[in-house]
């Protein structure tokens, strides 16, 4: 092979390898994206019925109950407009507290409750997870719109 041909072959292999790597990476990224939905969106059927996603908002005061096994916890996540009830089995993070912000990862069950695999609470007392704050803000805007929905 002439030097020029060899160089072309080298560049060609390089590009091919790079394309392959890019394909691999993008494919992996697409299949591992976890989307975020607010309780209002979940209630409006915008969230997927299969597959994992995250929800966030406030832990409704007085909603946390513990099953007799001491590990399964039930609580309600609300954006002050709509709410979703959540089941979680395991230990909760230190900053999990009623009335505080929370982000929960998991999936929706057929009966409309959310089966959590992971509960995230921020490390700072006064801090609200941005996702949760965003959900509250959206719900507030929708709520203060002229047509107030009754009963919610």
């Amino acid at each position: 092979m002439k030097p020029r041909q060899r160089r072309l072959a080298l560049i060609g292999t390089g590009l091919l390898a790079f394309g392959l790597a890019a394909l691999l990476v993008l494919n992996a990224l697409r299949s591992n994206l976890v989307f975020f939905f607010s309780p209002s969106q979940v209630r409006a059927n915008e969230a997927p019925h299969s597959g994992a996603f995250r929800i966030g908002g406030l832990i409704e005061a007085g909603s946390v109950t513990r099953a007799s096994d001491g590990l399964t916890v039930h609580f309600v996540v609300t954006d002050l407009a709509k709410s979703v009830s959540v089941n979680y089995r395991g230990l909760l993070p230190d900053l999990f507290r009623e009335g505080k912000g929370v982000v929960v990862a998991g999936q929706l069950r057929a009966d409309g409750t959310f089966e959590a695999t992971q509960v995230l609470a921020k490390h700072d007392e006064n801090y609200m997870p941005p996702e949760a704050a965003d959900a509250l803000e959206k719900a507030r805007q929708a709520h203060t719109a002229p047509t107030l929905e009754a009963g919610q």
């Binding site: 060899r6 080298l10 390089g14 390898a17 790079f18 790597a21 691999l24 990476v25 992996a28 990224l29 299949s31 591992n32 994206l33 976890v34 989307f35 975020f36 995250r54 513990r66 096994d69 001491g70 590990l71 089995r89 395991g90 230990l91 909760l92 230190d94 900053l95 921020k122 490390h123 700072d124 007392e125 997870p129 941005p130 996702e131 965003d134």
Partner: protein
């Protein structure tokens, strides 16, 4: 009074930095010696005033001066003195000040330890670092002043986040920053080379020790962060692919590529443009990492205040540094030249492959870290990228890189013979493969991924052994002499590669054999995890210096005899009434036992989390060995000898100039 002195010294430092950035640069360009000579004293002055500002802030903390806003929001009179000192970098403003101090410290180090380099070259390097200081000083003075007064003064501080009240916190940020900031030296060397248009093997030799030093600190910093998450935060894992972790990992990956590329440039003169580009990328990612973590964009323990003006400044600063240096690169790189040629199978080509793989890996981490931020900024929805993404990208990318680690160091420069390499490595290959297949069977259950990981680790270890043995063989002198004759840089490489192998063993065995259980335990209950029996003997109330806690008592036994008693705690800190879990961890060479308290359930029963993590310390041990390799490479005589040689040249050149 003290805080005002702090502000004043920052202002003086800014003025000095402006001089340091402009005069020597102009002097080097125009050939005015007196202007060039300004660089070193300016670097010393900048360092002195940056340290004075740091001292003022530290004094305000130790003195409990709650009239300073930053002190009031990050400290408390009850806080032990050591933590009050560490609280200096416990928040956004202070950590930026720490960045500046370390930058000026590295600048002084360059000024002091580069007497042998051409004066004009050093002047350019120091000037580039001066401009970086200007950027940080402007940020500190106008947007994130740590000395801002609070009127009226607070009676009591808001306390340091309890999570940060740990010896690890005292050292983790400075060491990590030493790494980040250290890459500014490699960056400044690269920019100076582009400016002067002289980029040769000598440039690579000067640049190498600084890059290795920064890489060593970054490795240690990441190691501490990981260990901190495991031991202090009690997250029970060692790496989560969180954006903050990724922010420190990206410069590490590109910095590792840079070290290897510099080796080629020094030894063979090849890869010149590529090396310069890598130096720019490494530091750009360090800057990006600092700002990503500290700007409040990311949801994490590290994110502090959010102020839109800060965000704009940071974006502009990043755009100037990254954009400016890339434009300079595009303009001047053709003058730098590509360097020597090499064959398809050669040490150069293998190192190039390693570089490409590391860069692609860093790129995929960058994509996974920034993609959610972009979508959010464009209001296209909130998403997060899960750890499975990183796992599925990393394993296929790193496997060929790790395999090449065995071959590359044995291959010849320029053109290597593939059949000869195969002959030399066949035993290493066979032995590592066979051992990896059989070993998991002896330990416990056979799992394909465990064998795969072990095979890679053993391959690196055995081929490194073959490398050393073949290098020493065939010489007449006694073994001790032969060992002593090898350069330190060579040993550094071997040690760092072994560190990678130890790291892989740790990762493989933890992933393959760890057990995690969340259980409800009444007093007297016991549960078996990983071959150990854990018996819960209840919890009692205890009082610490600034917290109250419930302290559990868990007896661990193996084969019916108690081997250890663990005391996990659930603390509530007085100042902020913040709850914190203090896990009890018993560390061993072959595995960790990990117990943490969840919540009291009823009648003295608690929900308890119990982990068994086999070989988890090997992960950090591997990182430590890698850093040790870097340290050994730093002591190589070559850097000093090269220094002496070029010192003569400079003296001669200096005489000619006079």
């Amino acid at each position: 009074m003290i805080p005002e002195i702090g502000v004043f010294s920052l202002v003086v430092a800014l003025l000095i930095a402006l001089v340091q950035g402009s005069l020597p640069l102009a002097g080097a360009h125009l050939g005015i010696t007196s202007w060039i000579r300004v660089a070193r004293p300016a670097a010393l002055g900048l360092f002195a005033f940056a340290m004075l500002a740091f001292g003022c802030l530290a004094w305000s903390f130790l003195d409990n001066d709650f009239s300073v806003l930053y002190v009031a929001s990050n400290s408390h009179a009850e806080l032990p003195a050591a933590y009050r000192f560490a609280a200096v970098w416990g928040g956004h403003e202070g950590s930026m000040l720490l960045w500046l101090c370390l930058l000026s410290a590295w600048t002084v180090a360059v000024a002091l330890f580069s007497r042998q380099l051409p004066e004009a070259y050093v002047a350019r390097v120091l000037a580039v670092m001066g401009w970086l200081s200007v950027g940080f000083l402007l940020f500190l003075l106008f947007l994130s002043n740590p000395f801002t007064r609070l009127m009226p003064p607070a009676l009591q501080g808001r306390d340091l986040n309890p999570l940060l009240q740990d010896p690890g916190m005292v050292v983790h940020p400075p060491v990590l920053y030493m790494g980040y900031v250290g890459f500014s030296v490699a960056f400044a060397f690269a920019i100076a080379a582009l400016l002067s248009g002289e980029l040769n093997a000598a440039w690579a030799r000067w640049s190498r020790p600084w890059t290795v030093a920064a890489w060593m600190f970054l490795t240690l910093g990441i190691l501490m962060g990981s260990a901190w998450a495991y031991y202090v935060l009690g997250w029970g894992g060692w790496w989560f692919w969180y954006p903050v972790e990724n922010a420190s990992f990206m410069p590490w990956l590109v910095g590792t590529a840079l070290i290897h590329s510099l080796a080629v440039t020094e030894q063979r003169g090849a890869f010149r443009s590529w090396t310069v580009l890598l130096a720019i990328c490494t530091f750009s990612l360090s800057l990006l990492g600092t700002f990503l973590v500290r700007s409040g964009v990311l949801t994490s323990v590290h994110a502090f205040a959010t102020d839109p003006r800060r965000g704009i400044f940071i974006l502009a600063f990043l755009a100037i540094v990254i954009g400016g240096s890339l434009v300079l690169f595009a303009w001047r790189a053709p003058r730098v030249g590509l360097g020597g040629t090499f064959g398809v199978v050669s040490r150069e080509s293998m190192l190039l492959t390693n570089n490409v793989l590391l860069i692609v890996a860093a790129g995929s981490v960058l994509l996974g870290t920034l993609y959610p931020l972009f979508l959010d900024a464009l209001d296209l929805g909130k998403i997060s990228v899960g750890p499975p993404y990183f796992d599925s990208v990393f394993v296929p990318l790193m496997t060929p890189a790790l395999f090449l680690m065995g071959i590359g160091p044995l291959a010849r420069w320029k053109v290597a013979d593939l059949t000869e390499l195969m002959r030399r490595l066949k035993w290493a290959f066979g032995v590592s493969l066979l051992t990896a297949l059989i070993l998991p069977l002896i330990v416990g259950s056979w799992k394909p991924l465990v064998s795969f990981g072990l095979a890679l680790a053993l391959w690196i270890l055995t081929s490194t052994g073959v490398n050393l043995w073949q290098r020493l063989a065939g010489q007449a002198s006694p073994l001790r002499r032969r060992l002593a004759n090898q350069p330190r840089g060579y040993y550094g490489m071997l040690i760092a590669h072994c560190g990678i192998a130890v790291f892989i063993i740790g990762v493989t065995l933890v992933k393959g054999y760890e057990t995690e259980r969340d259980v409800r335990m009444a007093i007297g209950d016991s549960v078996t995890v990983g071959g150990y029996e854990f018996r819960f003997n209840g919890a009692e109330n205890v009082t610490g210096p600034n917290y109250r806690a419930a302290r559990g008592n868990v007896a661990v036994s193996r084969n019916r005899s108690v081997v250890r008693t663990l005391h996990p705690e659930k603390r509530v800190y007085n100042a902020q009434q913040m709850a914190m879990t203090e896990a009890a961890i018993s560390t061993g060479l072959f595995g960790d036992l990990y117990v943490s308290l969840g919540e009291p359930v009823a009648d003295g029963a608690w929900s308890v989390r119990i982990y068994h993590k086999p070989f988890v310390v090997w992960i950090w041990g591997g990182c430590l060995i890698m850093a040790l390799g870097g340290f050994v490479a730093l002591t190589d005589r070559r850097y000093r000898r090269a220094a002496e040689r070029s010192a003569d040249k400079v003296v001669m050149a200096g005489k000619a100039a006079v």
